[in-house]
Symmetry: C2
Subunit: 895 residues, 2 copies
Amino acid sequence: MADKWTYAFGNGQAEGNRSMLDLLGGKGANLHEMSSIGLNVPPGFTLTTEICSHFIQTKGEYPEALVAEVTEAIQKLETIIDAKFGGGNGDQVLLLSVRSGARASMPGMMDTVLNLGLNAETVESLARATGDERFAYDSYRRFVQMFGDVVLGVEHYHFEDVLEEYKFDHGLKLDTDLSVEDWKTMVQKFMDLIEAETGKSFPSDPKDQLWAAIGAVFKSWTNKRAVTYRRLYNIPDGWGTAVNVQAMVFGNMGKGSATGVCFTRNPSTGENAFFGEFLENAQGEDVVSGVRTPQSLTALERQATASDLLSFEELMPDLYKELNDVRLILEKHYKDMQDMEFTVQQGRLWILQTRTGKRTVKAALQMAVDMANEGLIDKDTAILRVDPDQLDQILHPTLDPDAQTEVLGHGLPASPGAASGKLVFNADDAAAWAARGEDVILARVETSPDDINGMYVAKGVLTMRGGMTSHAAVVARGMGTPCVSGAGGIRIDCKAKTLSSLGEVLNEGDVITINGVTGEVLKGSVPTVEPKLDGAFSTLMEWADKVRVLNVRANAETLEDVVAARRFGAQGIGLARTEHMFFNPQRIVHVREMILAPNQDTRLKALDKLGEYQCQDFVQLFEVMDGLPVTIRLLDPPLHEFLPSKIRDIENVAAELNMPVEDVKKRTADLYETNPMLGHRGCRLGITYPEIYEMQVRAIFEAACNVKASEKIVIPEIMIPLIASLEEFSRLKALVINMADTVLAEYGVKIPYTVGSMIELPRACLQAGLIAEEAEFFSFGTNDLTQTTFGLSRDDAAPLLQSYLEKGVLRRDPFVSLDQSGVGELVKMGTARGRSARPDLKVGVCGEHGGDPRSVNFFHNAGLDYVSCSPYRVPIARLAAAQAALGVVFEDKNA
Amino acid sequence: MADKWTYAFGNGQAEGNRSMLDLLGGKGANLHEMSSIGLNVPPGFTLTTEICSHFIQTKGEYPEALVAEVTEAIQKLETIIDAKFGGGNGDQVLLLSVRSGARASMPGMMDTVLNLGLNAETVESLARATGDERFAYDSYRRFVQMFGDVVLGVEHYHFEDVLEEYKFDHGLKLDTDLSVEDWKTMVQKFMDLIEAETGKSFPSDPKDQLWAAIGAVFKSWTNKRAVTYRRLYNIPDGWGTAVNVQAMVFGNMGKGSATGVCFTRNPSTGENAFFGEFLENAQGEDVVSGVRTPQSLTALERQATASDLLSFEELMPDLYKELNDVRLILEKHYKDMQDMEFTVQQGRLWILQTRTGKRTVKAALQMAVDMANEGLIDKDTAILRVDPDQLDQILHPTLDPDAQTEVLGHGLPASPGAASGKLVFNADDAAAWAARGEDVILARVETSPDDINGMYVAKGVLTMRGGMTSHAAVVARGMGTPCVSGAGGIRIDCKAKTLSSLGEVLNEGDVITINGVTGEVLKGSVPTVEPKLDGAFSTLMEWADKVRVLNVRANAETLEDVVAARRFGAQGIGLARTEHMFFNPQRIVHVREMILAPNQDTRLKALDKLGEYQCQDFVQLFEVMDGLPVTIRLLDPPLHEFLPSKIRDIENVAAELNMPVEDVKKRTADLYETNPMLGHRGCRLGITYPEIYEMQVRAIFEAACNVKASEKIVIPEIMIPLIASLEEFSRLKALVINMADTVLAEYGVKIPYTVGSMIELPRACLQAGLIAEEAEFFSFGTNDLTQTTFGLSRDDAAPLLQSYLEKGVLRRDPFVSLDQSGVGELVKMGTARGRSARPDLKVGVCGEHGGDPRSVNFFHNAGLDYVSCSPYRVPIARLAAAQAALGVVFEDKNA
């Protein structure tokens, strides 16, 4: 049991401080802190979070000592303010606010009661003390309304109804049209309403009001809104909220009173300039609600917005100066940009709140670098100031903000980036149009593995159905292709080849633009601008690179992606998917020829042709990555992924390859798999069709020899996918070495290379000790490892995951953020076993998790050598790796 | 390096004995043993397996000391026999046999040379010594032919050609028509042939012959046949073969000579009676080859077969008595039934070989029990004498052996048992015909998950394609339904609904019979007989039950299977699959109604109806299993398994349910999954459709209450499938407890029950410590655990597994025999973690592996409490568990 339940602050003193976040909540701790450093904070006291836990456990009881403590705290307040709670000190009446304040910010989720302490007597005192009867009764009716809603459970709309009816009956339009008498009537009507609804009369004793309000705020910790919010943001239920009871100050006591919100620096650009808004003669909620247009804080801002209304700086220059001093004190004190609330009550400035301000990623970068350069923080702190996930917003080409756009609809921002192109409605059309050089946007109701070839060539993907983890979303993110998924308001008819929205019908070939960052779908072509990766961004990334231990590579194989990878600072290619090169329309013919070959001769001819193409690809890859390692994964997907499934397409392929339709059909049927994810793919192809892997290895080493001849440094790493046993690996390693050495001998060239294993099956993790006897490196394929460890198909899981996340069965999507306690244990086990057999084993990750900050953090702590992710996530991984090296810890939330 | 390479035997002495199996091979060790216990064995010596290893490592060299040792060994032989190798002791010529003999029997896989030592001189001595020139030259040409083939590599058919041509030219029909002169000519022709083929003349020096023959036999260890055999039977390449060089004895030296094969007990029935065959004036190969019909060994046997030919007992009564003495000595010595070879050379009995005799499972049971009762062996040894896998042959109904049958074709014996029924060609027809009470055999080209409902109702399954691990085979075995798969000679046309074979065409409705033990497909209905499970079988099983620690339960849910389970000694139901009850044609309507329900009301009505059916099922289950635990698994398969996939079927279902076709189509499409194995199934259904699990739990407990009311003991264990996390389990456990307690309260009855978890995902094994906090028992679903651990779909894996087994990438099919080093480690880990959280956690296995002896052995050693398998495999598991308790060890072969 605690021996102290309330902590007082005010008058330049405080019993708490900002380090007491757990006990006093965020808001409370900062009120104490500000008070103790001499800022003018309305005095008050905080009821600790421990009371909340006690209150919830005992279903509504308070610790014994509390009543006495609160009584004493109120007395202290009365002394400071020189006013009495409930009256009794002339007309100097102490009114209170009662607010929640948890350890983590939960904006708007819990309840607040203002103006507490008013009743038939004290309202009259207030009227006399302020000389403003209308203000007093307006405050009173606000209190009755708020208390009735929050504490007594009479829903908000009842009060609105009563007020609206009254206004209608009396021909009044605005609240400001109501007179003192009107408000007096309203107070009575509200009280009658409450009595009618609850069967009890409104409490007039301020002490009863206070205890009821405190209880309501504590209780609001468990309201549905708050519970949902905590689930979403992974805030433990056990934390509880504190309650802050504070003397009321009023920004609406006429001219000379005001209220405002401000930031110590510009939260949008990061510029070191005071920034904010205020309203004269208003309460805090008026600024936020947008009923009146707020005025600028500074003169400069006013100029920038060309406003008629005076700025705070101009209107109340002395108070502005005082506020600016507070700004400087707070920033120096907190060493971070602050988001403050202030009120001016009849010429006196009160600071109501300060907290670390939210900011755009651009501002975050700028402030972090500026503050480090100013000496306010050190570089390590600067690195920790930017959320790696947020970086994603600035790394992709974005739509030109100056362009005129016509919005067709909205979907989910499934894969970042923006793209324009001609509409096509199926994968084969996409392939055909792309083959003749058209930029296309592939629009589908939803995508399936059959659409891969179309997605590969499309500039962007748009689907009508499917969430953030739908097939389209996942595959597009993997490819780095912009995607908007689940655009339910848009109707896509793939048979008719039309896209309809807002009464407009677009046809195949019409140009649209999608914005994968916002989810917008736009008509026509909208120009994009490449992100600028200089200035604060590049400075901060440099600092991060000096700190981090984990290397960062990219998953890339197209020239575009490989170039992007280098630009984003990748230290090599961690995953070049050779099959992505197969989907190119020129090549898929030969791929199909190979698969459908009626005899060895035809098959080898097709393979030769493919080998030539692959060699060209690898030449590009090696040239761009000059001096950096390039990990090339041999063919992975099941062969049927390259075959058509619809009868018309089968007929086309048969015609193209000059084969009987029946033969194509039969082979396609033979290759069909019930569960392709667990099918004939990966190294299994290498063992059953060694000629395919031989072709690929030959192409890799011919390319390597050619590139080396142009004085470049080539570091090939051959990676074999879906290994389950040492036996598979050693056979295929022998195949690779045999072919590699043959080619190197033909060219008379020496190029050191390594042969390693994907570790993406639970069995491979278990058998890692054996596999590492032969494998020179490991790369965890955490996508597939998650699928097999969970027994969950990523192609199908979207609706289930959605439901699991909603119900809280899972806290995080394991395909987005590594399941540390399950899949993570296998990663650790595989690494430890592998290294025990081969201490210098290089271990990396090449699943999508390689670009997720939480997962990067885990991989750092698991002692991996590198992560590899999509080029556009390389900076994210670099920053996350640096933060991990600086000791940032995430909790694993999935049980 | 060994200091001794050859071991001599003969004349009542031996340098080796039967314990020296590794060094002398099986044949050699037994020759030494027999010689040392005084049996009349042709003297000889054994070249050790170590020479073989040396020979192979050095690519054809012998240890230095070997030549001297062999020379000395030959001299010893010459002394014993009083004859000289290569001549020089009058006409007493020593001829030799050179035979392979590895540690494990590899019948016919390696080479043998007989009559070695003959040349132009010694053949004349042989003629004189035996007074039979024709015999001498016949032996000579046999030697030249055999040596030419085995040692010199001139293939067999060349010699046959020469002989046939000669016979044709001279108008001779049988070998016996050839005269001495003919054989002399043949010898020359054979030698000419060899010289023409090899370019070298036939070696005449017996010493050269001997070394060449020894080399050839050692080399035959690495011939393709032998290598393949070793791979198939998991015999290590490193063992090598020994070579036995032995003085020749001849059973073909006229009347008074004979040769035979005999068993110390009847290998077919197990009866304790001497049993064998012999031929007068013949060599051993004549008995085996079947060129002449062998005669009975005993008079009794001769009577039984009503043969005209005298038995050995009648023909050579003294020698028979001597042989019978040998029989008794050997059986007492080896304490097991022996398979012996003997030769009588001119009135003298020689024992050529003894080894443990192969036997039918019936005989194995009888002998094991008899020998234990006779005191020859103890009961533990008796238990170890029967191969559990072999038991499968006698547990299923078999075709009446007296019935007349007409064979239509053959396939693979994919799932044991025999069944007759009317031919149907698709699953829906099967369901429809079965619904009106017909017995049907479902014939398909191959089966897929779409056929499950048809397979469930069919009496037997026949497929044209697919191996022992095809979908049809696996599913049928799982259901205990007889199946013949891959009957390639039979053409099944599912469109035309015909089955054609041997020129005959059968139509839908025609009756056929399949025999899942032999793979035979028969026309018409063939009566079956139920196996008798009394006598030796039941005695041995009783003994086994006393020894074993592991409990054995059955996977069963139909009345038929549950009754069988009890009959076969199951100690409970380890897995009742509630969904199997759904496939019944009466019920699937309601299942579909539930899935397709447009609103909650319709869904609940359908569920109510299903609940009634399920309750009836559970009543049966509990009644039969009175007093034994019954583990019921809640719904597991994805819902789409219950929906039709073909458009015609969709239309039918829509009509049946009075729904628009489009709605059925849409819902079917919505439920479609790319990888159903990793899909929306198991506990995921329970979480997303709690009403289904609630219905099932209500049905279980209503049934339990009803059965308990009839004075029976009900022990329900509710099992939740596909658990990946504690979160899933604890939510569903709460659901189960809530509903169970509601029902029990309604009935006012107390029934103790437990709630446990399937452990069938790698993540569940990793998280077992957490899951066991809530789960009261674990049941490893090793089928699915194998699929996810390996990343291998059982529905698709057949061709790949076939290829992997052929290439030796895998040594065993992991779906048949548990992958101990991979999946097995997860089983051990899950058990250990589970028990560390809950020391009294009951842990079982309910995958197909529960009926595989090797796997049962593993589960015993992993400390599991029980295995559960198909009813027909319960005795197999009981025996395997007993053998495991007696310390039988299997090696894990998959790397």
